[in-house]
């Protein structure tokens, strides 16, 4: 935990932290500005529900925009859609740079590889999670202003949204831990992470098509379950995300343990 907190404290002043925080802040500032100015009635209109029905099942679109506070749902949809990118940006330099520069040599005579791996993993997760929570708080404030739902309903849904986004971030940080354990710089980790994600998505779709069943090699397919037509689906999605996180993180740990430093 010492290493995790040290990393977090210095994330704001180092390139790897800024690489994530600056695009994240600008992106959400733009989205929130749009939601605040253009949101409200527009989000609950029939056109919006129809547009969302192209992406998800009509029942899901209905639940998201009509049953729940709409602007928080829009935040959830956009947050989950952009999580792969932002989680990759926020966690691309867990191990690669310091392992390649051999800076870990100063740590390794003092703590184990597992402690270093977990320290960096936890620091990256907390960084991305904290930014996500802060953006969710901003979305909740906007929702209170424009959705005209009872405060209690908005707050309960906001907590659900936060929980869902935090769960969804976890496997991506684990995925980047695995890629980072292989690569030699933050940039190469980021590029490899993106390319491998794309390749895994395409391979999953191709295999699913060939085998006539769902083959999900990346957690993207869990999104619709998370949006929650029923609690059972959400629970199933949560377990699936934890499984993805466990597989990716274990793979990263396995690779890092064997890496020459």
């Amino acid at each position: 935990m010492i290493l995790a907190f040290f990393d977090l404290r210095h994330a704001l002043f180092r390139l790897k932290g800024l690489l994530f925080l600056l695009p994240f802040v600008f992106f959400w500032y733009w989205i929130f500005k749009f939601l605040y100015v253009q949101g409200g009635d527009l989000l609950v209109s029939r056109v919006s529900v129809q547009l969302l029905s192209w992406l998800y099942k009509p029942a899901v679109a209905q639940i998201l925009l009509i049953s729940h506070p709409a602007s928080l749902s829009v935040f959830l949809i956009i947050a989950l859609a952009t999580t792969p990118l932002f989680a990759m940006l926020g966690s691309c330099d867990q191990l690669a740079g310091d392992a390649a520069r051999q800076t870990f040599r100063f740590f390794l005579t003092r703590c184990t590889r597992t402690e270093i791996f977990l320290g960096r993993f936890i620091a990256s997760y907390i960084l991305v999670a904290t930014a996500t929570i802060l953006s969710a708080i901003a979305a909740t404030i906007i929702s209170v202003h424009i959705d005209q739902r009872p405060m209690e309903v908005t707050l309960i849904y906001a907590m659900q949204v936060v929980l869902m986004t935090l769960m969804y971030v976890l496997p991506f940080v684990g995925y980047m831990a695995a890629i980072s354990a292989l690569m030699s710089s933050a940039l190469s980790t980021l590029l490899m992470g993106m390319m491998a994600y794309l390749a895994l998505s395409i391979t999953g779709s191709y295999l699913g098509h060939r085998l006539g069943m769902d083959v999900a090699l990346v957690p993207g397919g869990v999104k619709e379950l998370l949006f929650g037509i029923n609690p059972h689906d959400q629970l199933y999605a949560g377990i699936e995300l934890l499984a993805y996180a466990a597989v990716y993180t274990s793979l990263g740990w396995f690779l890092f343990r064997r890496r020459n430093i």
């Binding site: 180092r14 051999q102 040599r105 100063f106 003092r110 703590c111 020459n260 430093i261």
Partner: protein, 308 residues
């Protein structure tokens, strides 16, 4: 003598390059050992394996009774790695505190321990600077300071004075001398005079295997050996005259510097033989620039490596 480090049949390859090829040796408690060998002999790889930075392909390594990756070794080995950068954008003091905390020191005790190593290594003027603003020599001293945190039982020093100016190098040598009393040291260096001054034992490796392990004393033949540096390359006639002396058994001219002669002789009165040799050189007008009794340590090590 308690064995602190024991390596047996250690192999390590990087692709087709074999860095260690069945290396075996043992280092005892409170030794100061010089690790010597040409570039690519496997010295840094050996240090990396001892510290758990990499795993051997095969073989056994035991340090303080444990495997290199054992949790029980943490904080008991200190290393001055070669040319390894510290974290950028974070002051030296903050990084040293972090390392002490990782080693198990509480916040307060970490502060006191850092003060101790700062005083010991003389880096008090550098601690509030960023590592990237330090010169190579300053950085090296900072990295040496981190190796001393927590008074580790074994300290590995990889080229501790390379790249340092003469004054800084002397300071580091003096510090190493001080450390000898309390720690087991393994010093890897190309500077054989440094090894001779600092260490009492030597391990010579070449192409990943052991050439020789012995005390420094064993390598230096004191009584029947002269090393002479002449002002000019000696003429053949001078060498013939020297060889004709009854006590002289062998004369070798240095391959790189032919003005340097190593003369081996026998006899019960070495002083007289020595006097006779110098007299003969004077007769041939061969001016002596340097003269030392005993074989040059460097020559002996080079000879061993070449003969491997």
């Amino acid at each position: 003598m308690d064995t602190l480090i024991k390596c047996r049949d250690v192999y390590k390859s990087f692709g087709s390059i074999r860095a260690l090829a069945g290396l075996s040796f043992a280092v005892g408690n409170h030794s100061s050992v010089g690790l010597v060998g040409p570039n690519g002999a496997g010295k840094t790889t050996l240090f990396s394996i001892i510290c758990g930075f990499m795993r051997p392909d095969s073989g056994h390594i035991n340090i303080l009774g444990h495997r290199p990756d054992s949790l029980l070794l943490k904080g008991r080995i200190g290393i001055l790695p070669q040319d390894v950068p510290m974290l950028q954008g974070i002051t030296v003091h903050t990084q040293l505190i972090l390392l002490a905390r990782l080693q198990g020191f509480s916040r307060n005790r970490a502060g006191r321990e850092i003060e101790r190593v700062i005083d010991l290594s003389g880096i008090s003027g550098l601690i509030h600077q960023l590592p990237e603003t330090l010169s190579f020599g300053q950085r090296k001293r900072v990295i040496l300071a981190q190796a001393l945190i927590g008074k580790p039982e074994v300290i590995l020093l990889d080229e501790p004075t390379s790249g340092l100016d003469p004054v800084a190098a002397n300071d580091v040598r003096a510090l190493i001398q001080k450390l000898r009393a309390e720690h087991t040291l393994i010093v890897s260096s190309h500077n054989l005079d440094e090894i001779r001054n600092v260490c009492n034992e030597i391990i010579i490796i070449d192409r990943g295997s052991l050439v020789r392990q012995c005390t420094i004393q064993e390598l230096v033949e004191h009584d029947n050996y002269l090393t002479i540096l002449l002002e000019h390359t000696p003429e053949e006639q001078t060498l013939r005259s020297l060889r004709s002396l009854p006590a002289v058994t062998r004369i070798t001219a240095d391959a790189v510097n032919p003005k340097k002669l190593s003369i081996q002789f026998q006899g019960a009165q070495p002083d007289q033989v020595q006097f006779r040799i110098l007299e003969l050189l004077q007769q041939h007008n061969a001016a002596v620039v340097e003269f030392s009794r005993g074989s040059a340590f460097t020559d002996k090590v080079v000879e061993l490596v070449r003969g491997h």
